[in-house]
Symmetry: C2
Subunit: 237 residues, 2 copies
């Protein structure tokens, strides 16, 4: 198993600090030659490292050393901005689109809406220290959704909704999954079309027990780790 030893060799380079966080690895051809092997075998080794979260790949750009992850707690309704502030990470959340659309069956079920309901869909991207690491789809029922029209670039969706209706801070349920990136997601996050992304789907309830926000976060597993019901771990950066 040649690719195992190649994996370990590159891993050691990273652990030892020879390759810094965010640094680009040499080209696949160069690396393959270094290890006297072919690109196929080399890519196998890199894919192992990607699974481990040590490296990641940008479409047609190359392979990069992963930075230390952000810890995210989906049992809160905090946005990424607040989470990043707490962990002293430089993060920016950018609007991609905002539209009113017919709720899919899945969305309607989560939000307990009747058929043919409309929802507002607010899509944002999350950039952590220069790298796009997540996409967020936020679905708001039509009733409160009109509040979003007043929203300004950079506003937190929860803050805006909070002006309209109070919510119960404990009222969050969530789901965890894994799925390959869609075409849209690959484009935005600059991933290969084959990349896998993890998903967290959070439903936020108001005090009456009615769901009023569905938040689906699709993220790169090497960049964001899920920590439920814990304080963020002390970081070593």
């Amino acid at each position: 198993m040649q690719y195992i030893s190649i994996k370990e060799a590159i891993e050691e380079q990273i652990e030892s600090g020879m390759l810094a966080e965010g640094q680009k690895l040499p080209s696949e051809r160069t690396l393959a030659e270094s290890f006297s092997t072919t690109r196929v075998t080399l890519r196998e080794a890199l894919q192992q490292l990607a699974l481990l979260g040590k490296v990641y790949k940008e479409e047609r750009k190359g392979w990069f050393v992963s930075a230390s992850p952000l810890y995210f707690d989906p049992s809160h309704h905090f946005g990424f901005k607040k989470t990043c502030q707490q962990q002293k990470r430089a993060c920016s959340v950018k609007q991609i689109s905002l539209e009113r659309t017919l709720a899919s069956k899945e969305i309607a079920t989560y939000l307990q809406l009747p058929p043919f309901s409309y929802v507002y869909l607010y899509i944002t991207s999350v950039t952590l220290e220069g790298r796009k690491v997540a996409l967020q789809y936020q679905y708001v029922p039509d009733i409160q959704g009109s509040a979003l029209k007043e929203m300004l670039e950079g506003d937190d969706i929860i803050s805006v909704l909070n002006k309209r209706c109070l919510y119960d801070a404990d009222g969050v349920s969530f789901t965890f999954d894994i799925a390959p990136a869609t075409h849209f997601e690959s484009n935005v996050l600059r991933l290969s079309s084959s990349s896998m992304l993890l998903s967290v789907i959070q439903t936020v309830f108001n005090q009456a027990g009615t769901p009023f926000l569905l938040q689906k976060t699709r993220y790169c597993h090497d960049a964001i780790k899920i920590e439920v019901g814990k304080m963020p771990l002390p970081k070593t950066r």
Copy 2:
């Protein structure tokens, strides 16, 4: 992108019911010939399907169609047995090993133990309708751990511990992650050494707020889905 259309062709065969749950796919060589391509490209297509959770692979056995998943809620301390009963799935939990061992740094941190503490490590495998789909590592501090000696094959660890100390049903915190299977895990679950497994790490607290059980579940993502704070979804099987 030939592998995309191959992926979709096989996917359609599965969705249409031509390939039943648990059924073995034809050999890679046969499939490659069917699609007039090489094994490399074909395996790319199958890996995509594996990411989607539609198929899975057993080491040196071949590719199989995934069955519908079990929904597991880590915010409870229910074992798999109870979860399976609720969802009317045939599941068996089998002991692999039980030993007293020095707590690693990670385990000691989670269980809030001082250095050089001993823990009991109870390892079980979870078989869902004939397929091994998960491994569980359960760590119990030395104090309560001796109770495990009385445990019989098939006993639930929580039930046994419950005789010794009461616990607070809400006192569960947990973490998600993803990591490649270890050598041991590949062997037990019959996976390729390269396979990725999802992890849930649950810490169960007693009424005094002291952690008394750490439970790490390593599972195949196509076979088990995480559902937090929800009732199991209605199944269509």
